[in-house]
Symmetry: C2
Subunit: 156 residues, 2 copies
Amino acid sequence: MGVKSNLAEEREQAEPPLLDSLIGYRLRRASNRMTSDFLVTVSPLALRPALFAMLEGIRTTPGIIQMALGTELGIQRANLVPLINELTGRGLVARRAAPNDRRALSLFLTAKGEELLDRAEKMVLEHEERTLAKLSKTERAKLLELLSKVATDVDA
Amino acid sequence: MGVKSNLAEEREQAEPPLLDSLIGYRLRRASNRMTSDFLVTVSPLALRPALFAMLEGIRTTPGIIQMALGTELGIQRANLVPLINELTGRGLVARRAAPNDRRALSLFLTAKGEELLDRAEKMVLEHEERTLAKLSKTERAKLLELLSKVATDVDA
DNA sequence: TATTGTTATACTCTATAACTATA
DNA sequence: TATAGTTATAGAGTATAACAATA
């Protein structure tokens, strides 16, 4: 209970900004920064993050139906439609009727889509390398692991 | 070079999805999930992430001018204007002419703004607790540390 | 009844250019 | 000439409701 100097009082009053301790906030800032760099990096191919993710999802599971792709990527099926239209319109993706369910549409990469995605992947890996230069391999693995624990319910 | 079983071949072909190893992608998914939960949690106060961050920024530095607040939060000054209008229109923030620069406007929380922010902070902390339940204290601290290394240039 | 794809619509945040008034 | 605030506008992603065709 001693007398305090002005400096000590100031130090007591100035609590550390709450924002800096909020993971949600820091997550948003980091994500925005990477998205911004992604857009610039991949702009020569006219691919945005959502389009790139969709191409990757189709490559991983050729013939996947729209509904399943949406679930996999966390994109509502209503929002998926115009994106797929964009990809088919550019000749990167083909829609075919699903064999067992006449409601569903299967998605495939065209040869052109495969080629573009190959080029995109190289750009994206460079983009990650550049934006994550401050992180070691171990730190990157740790970050991926921690991020996967954030998205709890559907993701895993 | 031995003969391979079909299973082994399949295992070789099925590479792990590239998306799962991309920090940018995982960051976006995790951020979206937390933003979504934030919106639901704080909706009783009609605060969105950007508005909450601005109130926090003003609380941390009372009298901060708009330009500085934008830089601090990574929000372009053009986008800041309608957000501040919203806050002043609701009586949460007051704009006053800055003493030394007649171009600049200083920002302060009103009593109503202080009260609302107090309530918002409690909600946000509960929101973080709920969405990050899978992470230990140590893991949360590590995640914050790693995230701060992603936003390189301006942030630090 | 439930599900798949679709359309329409609104909201949140971000980005750029150009203008004004001050500095 | 540079900066602070402002206006206008566009883009990217997300959310909800409702409908037709099919299961």
